[in-house]
Point group: C2
Chain length 244, copies 2
DNA sequence: GTTTATCCGATTGTCGACAATATTAGGCAT
DNA sequence: ATGCCTAATATTGTCGACAATCGGATAAAC
């Protein structure tokens, strides 16, 4: 298939449609972010082949932007790149998912200690607002929205802790296990419990006690790990993926 | 400077000079590994500009291999890539070095728990052999060789633990802080103490006790962090870098 | 003397073309 | 039908050329 047959040359020159509002524009950043989003949102199956030409057409980018994006995603662990054989969406095994979660647990524990030492009154206000919003969504029976807020809640803690290194690693790990994440959320009765745990976390933070905060976080995350284990056991026989 | 002036075209075609003995050959792997090695071994100063054409000539690779390598290194955190302004060796601040070390500590603690549960008699034999070699080098007054063995020792533990995710992250962190590492080693009297700590670690592993192993590792690494802090304080006034 | 404007060389970004390699499809014998 | 060889196609890898952009130097203006 000759790629340059019918499509217009996609314009490489000035006037990019998205003028990069943020300052952190890396090499091939637009394509990278788009592609990454497609992957973590489950639009591609694991092991699905990622053909450069197709992606270029799909994302409206040049082939070498795609190429750079794929290299980056490979390094990040979201795709796997084999020489002369292209890229595939990386399949994270059950075992690896547990490994990831395990690392995530200890990183979050470490991070919340920092947060406990640095949290301000304004931070606590924000956290409590997050909490009440979560309660709201839960009452509305909106587990999907709850899951989003959950992620936001944890990210807020990362921000408070202001630990760049750990934050980066956590973001990376989270993106790798996200397909498992969305399954865990669906565990019946999990959300109410999760909410309580979150409340305890905020309380511990409010008292600015690192040990208590870490304990609350550990409690919360051990629940998550357990749920993940459960999800793996259950769905081993019936693996499902997000609808396209 | 016209790059293609005097140098021979470096041959793109068949018969790669290094036939890739290992299976994990990613995109632009040769250039990536070489360049990475140059950086972590301190051949480039922090903030030094990395000009693609120069690197291509230096490493005997094409410009786009270099380009891919730079993207990978950027994602890895060893270089920083700014749009239209090329790549520079990333400077890790003192604070960041401490952050990295902090994460490293908890990851190593986690990993050694796994190791304690999986260690075999053969593993213990290897570890003890490492130990005696370290003692040897120390007696010879060879701190540089000792440092190498030190790294090998820790890597051996990662191998025993068989925790791919944590191992990957640790390798990454280590490469980022390596320039600080080499300074820490030089602390007078540090090596003997380090050796003792290593011996305690092996003992704890031999008893297959996760808690004791973790404690021994924590003790060891807290020392390392302290030394790093000391090195930072001392050398703040007189920053030195590896000779080229 | 300091600031501002303009130019020039150096460097990065992108494309198109082609070579090298993998993957598929079809034909043939068993 | 099944397996194997060969040809056709699809896809990745690499280069060279050129456009876009940056940084510094020089010149002009105040």
């Amino acid at each position: 298939m000759k790629t340059s047959a019918g499509a217009p040359p996609v314009r490489q020159t000035t006037a990019g449609p998205a003028p990069k509002p943020d300052g952190t524009a890396e090499r091939g950043a637009e394509a990278y972010l788009k592609l990454r989003n497609e992957i973590v949102s489950g639009r591609f199956h694991p092991n699905e082949r990622l053909v450069e030409a197709d992606l270029a057409r799909l994302l409206g980018a040049g082939r070498n932007a795609i190429r750079a994006a794929l290299v980056r995603l490979d390094q990040e662990g979201l795709v796997v790149l084999e020489p002369n054989r292209g890229a595939r969406v990386r399949l994270v095994s059950d075992r690896e998912a547990l490994e990831i979660e395990e690392v995530r647990v200890i990183l979050e524990q470490m991070i919340i200690r920092h947060a406990a030492l640095r949290v301000t009154a304004a931070d606590l206000r924000d956290l409590r607002r997050s909490l009440s919003e979560m309660r709201e969504r839960l009452r509305q029976g909106n587990p999907l929205g709850y899951s989003e807020l959950n992620a936001e809640f944890h990210q807020r803690i990362w921000t408070i802790a202001d630990h760049g290194t750990a934050g980066r690693l956590l973001a990376n790990l989270k993106s790798q296990s996200i397909r498992f994440q969305f399954r865990t959320i669906l565990r019946p009765g999990r959300t109410e419990r999760s909410l309580q745990e979150h409340e305890q976390i905020v309380e511990a933070l409010a008292s600015r006690d690192p040990d208590a905060s870490e304990a609350a976080m550990r409690q919360h995350l051990s629940q998550v790990v357990q749920t993940l284990q459960w999800a793996i056991d259950v769905q081993r026989h019936q693996p499902i993926w997000l609808p396209r």
